[in-house]
């Protein structure tokens, strides 16, 4: 059996209450070690207050060739953006 430690993807929540963000990956034998390693590799300068790790093989990803079918439908729906509507200045803040 190949004895390479599995690959983990690392997500970190920064200081200011934002969502966890993907920062990179690393190898570790298990989740506990992955978090410890992530602390050393990705938060040496106070970059985070919380770490998530997930084994890379558990991540399902959309395929680049689906870009069209997945995202084109939203391109024509400009009314989803507030700037689509002209509201007169007299109405005040909205």
């Amino acid at each position: 059996m190949k004895n390479e430690w599995p690959l983990w993807e690392v997500f970190i929540r920064g200081q200011h209450g934002m969502s966890h963000r993907h920062v990179g990956s690393l190898h570790a034998p298990d989740a506990e070690m992955a978090i410890k390693n992530a602390r050393d590799v990705y938060t040496r300068r106070n970059e985070g207050v919380s770490i998530w790790v997930v084994e890379a093989r558990h991540i399902a990803a959309s395929s680049p060739s689906d870009k069209g079918p997945l995202y084109e439908p939203s391109e024509s729906k400009v009314y989803r953006h507030p700037t689509f509507f002209d509201i007169p200045d007299e109405v005040g803040a909205m």
């Binding site: 004895n3 390479e4 990179g24 034998p29 050393d40 590799v41």
Partner: protein, 330 residues
């Protein structure tokens, strides 16, 4: 550079007519400054070249810990020791970011490590020189990290997404490295006569090896042309070397130290310093394995790998056992 003499796969830049439909689309994306992500279609030669380049860059970060690690236990003060330890730890991090970027291209970490240990893949020539005195630690931070920054800053804009993101992280951390080195040099240069001599000796020995980091001139190289078209190389080696010299000369003057080059002088017309080329014969000799520390460096990596094997295996066995017990309990 940290990646030197990377052999670009393929036969050089193709004209649009010579490209397949897929290659044309790919090149158009690169030209439009789009990032290429691991699952996107890419030419095999682009992939192969990037594995070599990012792999060698990663190896350089890892092996680069050795000359500096040499002084951690002998740093002159506790503060200097803590700083050097943090710097060397950063370099380990840089190696890890880059290995992960290379792995997204389909090579495994073990393959990369094995290719380093067998000598199939190289690391930067600079790390085959010894760090003989404490002043060398100053000179390495100032000159070697300084040269690395020259190359890494433009690479933040490289076409391959994971490589670009690794470079952005790395660049954020590099300026600490160069400044701590220059800080050591300032202390030495303003110190006793003996300290000044030590600082001058460090620059005497490390100046030309630092210039070699950029690799020999590649203005005419078809390989570099292709790497530039793919935007995995941004500047020619000569451009970066010139930039490095122009930036470094005034810094040496400020220290009151002399750059060991009789031909060094400001060229008003060019708006750059003229300077002597390093001894390229020495460079190729070091790459072949005949530098002062090649054997030491590779032996240290090989021992770290083989001595650590039981730890890696034991941790994995423990993790598998725990996972099996958890499944059994469910």
């Amino acid at each position: 550079m940290y990646a030197q003499m990377i052999k670009t796969a393929g036969t050089g830049v193709k004209s649009p007519e010579e490209m397949t439909e897929e290659e044309r689309k790919f090149q158009a994306r690169v030209d439009a400054n789009e990032k290429i992500e691991p699952k996107d279609w890419m030419p095999d030669d682009y992939r192969a070249t990037l594995i070599r380049q990012i792999g060698q860059h990663a190896h350089s970060e890892i092996v680069g810990q050795l000359p500096e690690g040499n002084w951690i236990t002998r740093a002159p003060t506790l503060e200097r020791k803590a700083i050097l330890l943090a710097k060397v730890q950063d370099e380990a991090g840089h190696g890890l970011y880059l290995y992960c970027a290379a792995e997204t291209l389909g090579v495994s970490r073990d393959e990369l490590t094995e290719d380093l240990l067998s000598g199939k893949m190289k690391y930067s020539s600079i790390f085959n020189y010894p760090t003989l005195t404490w002043a060398d630690i100053g000179a390495v931070g100032w000159l070697v990290d300084g040269a690395a920054i020259m190359n890494q800053v433009p690479l933040q804009r490289t076409s391959f997404g994971p490589y670009s993101r690794a470079m952005i992280r790395i660049c954020k951390e590099e300026s600490f490295h160069q400044r701590q080195g220059y800080d050591i040099m300032m202390k030495m240069a303003r110190g006793t006569e003996a300290q000044k001599r030590m600082a001058q000796d460090a620059i005497n020995r490390l100046w030309y090896p630092s210039l070699m980091m950029f690799g020999p001139s590649d203005k005419e190289s078809v390989h570099s042309g292709q790497s530039m078209a793919w935007r995995i190389k941004i500047n020619t080696n000569d451009e970066l070397r010139q930039k490095f010299v122009d930036q470094t000369v005034p810094q040496a003057e400020y220290l009151g130290l002399t750059i060991p080059d009789e031909n060094l002088k400001w060229n008003e017309e060019r708006g750059h310093y003229d300077f002597s080329e390093p001894d390229w014969k020495e460079f190729f000799d070091v790459l072949k394995g005949n530098g002062p520390c090649n054997t030491d460096r590779l032996t240290a990596r090989q021992e770290a790998w083989s001595d650590g094997k039981w730890v890696r295996d034991a941790m994995l066995a423990h993790a598998r056992k725990k996972a099996a017990a958890k499944v059994a309990a469910e």
